[in-house]
Chain length 327, copies 2
């Protein structure tokens, strides 16, 4: 089986490629070729026995998607695109990378024709939703995104469903919750603190909490997120039905509950590294985000998130810190 | 005030241009220039005192939207596009006309900049919804279109909302119910019978009913539809808020109730011209369409539909038959 990953240099793309490489199989079939594509060179996953093809190119540039798809991958994990803040700062870049890139990919698949009908697993986001929200967002809640990023993801979801309905491909779009704990250096994203308040203390560094402890949010670990993508690749068209874009489950908890989970895993000293410094701008942005999802359909389809935030903290320690807690 | 209408040669576009020409004003301001654009030459509305500019061109072709927008119309009624059946038969044409055409228009507005921020009234459709449905579709129900046409309209709604949020324009999208009674010759659309069972008997011609009389559907007359568009042009950004795409109200009734309305307006002889000829294909297509909308938000915003199907029949007689009933 030939499996392709777009956005393979991103955090989730890298972890997905590593896991595919380690498992060597997907949906019951051995992976013989792994094509990894991104605008910067993606790393080669360790320990994969099959062939790895790396393509460093802009998916939205003319001819790139055609070239990638001409090798007829059976499964395409499509995660390429620019992130929320970038799409908001640079409108043209966001529509180019996120909308045109996806459209180029879907068009390239359609143009192959001749019975070629790959599984396309699309990385969408809970940013497709926009406030005001009910307490729990049901699976049939409308999409009124409040960012250009969310708009582009929602537009791609629609096109993916249409191309699936018309039989050009078997698409499935996953609306991911906040991915936490995000490894790597702190970033400027308004959501950065959700990960930083866990990651930085666990790395022995101080960090700042800009919002109140009663802020509620839904999280899934990078490991669970990669699990969602892999599970989606194994879902048949019959099981999915026509509503192929699905809100993923996660652990819904307050910032205060996140901090108590950190305390249980790493002790008071870790928690003492969190300094309260309320930031009205961040508080205002976060207030516009969805808190809690029903995700009944995803759970019924077998998507599994963590069952507690403690588990999310422990997964970060295992997967990103080699199992080591701070001294 | 300079008002532009795209799709001005279509049935609704023509009626809208006629009404704008007759009223000579929109949202309290006198109309000095009326630009009418379509891919075929739009008719000149009778009795308009201002200047009429007609542009026969494909809005989605390079440079056309820029040329139209360079004259800086204060209000743009954007109805250009291909209809449902055509978008389904020709995928490329549908995405070109319906998605790219709208994107070209929005981009042309954005590129003018310098404080230019027109009102853009977009003609969307209840085809953005897809079965299965609750008995009454609430205003916050998700969009899962089952046609490429509905997909393209939903994608345009999202982009219109994003461009409005970013301050490039003041958009409002109207999800129109079935427009009934549609004048002109019978067409091949699966929905054609909803109008034909009224229009043909009133014109002294026989017609065929392909579905059961208990089929439920929501209708608005062409006059009410034009009224929705004109009312939308007068709604301020503050009143609309960020959720600018709105499901319009209509008269929800069964086919049997339509026929009884025809009987009350035109007598038994008219009803006798309807022959039952069940068509399983049409029955199946119609079963996938939404029946009834809450449209609470539209009603609260002052959009007014007819209050009975009798009124819809009488409006057809007045507006399209010169007030004459069959002998």
């Amino acid at each position: 089986m030939h499996v392709m990953v777009t956005g393979a240099a991103g955090m989730i793309g890298r972890k997905l490629a590593e896991r595919l490489g380690q498992e060597g199989a997907l949906a019951g079939a051995a992976i013989t070729v792994l094509t990894l594509s991104d605008i910067v060179a993606p790393p080669v996953p360790a320990g994969f026995a099959g062939a790895v093809s790396r393509v460093t190119a802009d998916l939205a540039a003319a001819g790139v998607a055609e070239r990638l798809i001409s090798a007829r991958p059976e499964v395409v994990f499509h995660g390429a695109g620019v992130v929320s803040a970038e799409a908001e700062m640079d409108l043209e870049k966001g529509y180019h990378a996120n909308l045109d890139g996806t459209r180029m990919l879907l068009e390239a698949v359609r143009e192959v024709g001749g019975g070629y009908r790959p599984k396309v697993v699309f990385t969408s986001s809970c940013a497709v939703f926009g406030a005001p929200f009910p307490d729990v967002i049901p699976d049939d809640f409308h999409l009124t995104p409040l960012t250009s990023y969310g708009t582009q993801k929602a537009m791609c979801e629609l096109m993916l469903a249409d191309y699936s309905r018309r039989g050009f491909l078997d698409g499935v779009g996953l609306r991911l919750p906040a991915v936490c704990v995000r490894p790597g250096p702190p970033n400027k994203a308004a959501s950065g603190f959700f990960s930083a308040i866990i990651r930085e203390p666990l790395a022995g560094r101080d960090t700042v909490l800009p919002v109140s402890e009663d802020v509620l949010h839904t999280h899934a670990s990078p490991r669970a997120t990669v699990g969602f993508l892999i599970h989606a690749a194994g879902l048949s068209r019959d099981v999915l039905g026509p509503r192929i874009n699905i809100t993923m489950p996660g652990v819904c908890c307050t910032v205060g509950e996140q901090i108590e989970a950190l305390r249980r895993v790493a002790g008071d000293a870790a928690v003492a590294r969190i300094r309260r410094a309320p930031d009205p701008l961040v508080e205002r942005i976060v207030a516009g985000w969805p808190h809690r999802f029903d995700a009944a359909r995803a759970r019924a389809l077998g998507f599994v998130a963590e069952s507690s935030f403690d588990e999310i903290v422990r997964i970060h320690v295992e997967d990103d810190l080699g199992g080591r807690l701070p001294a």
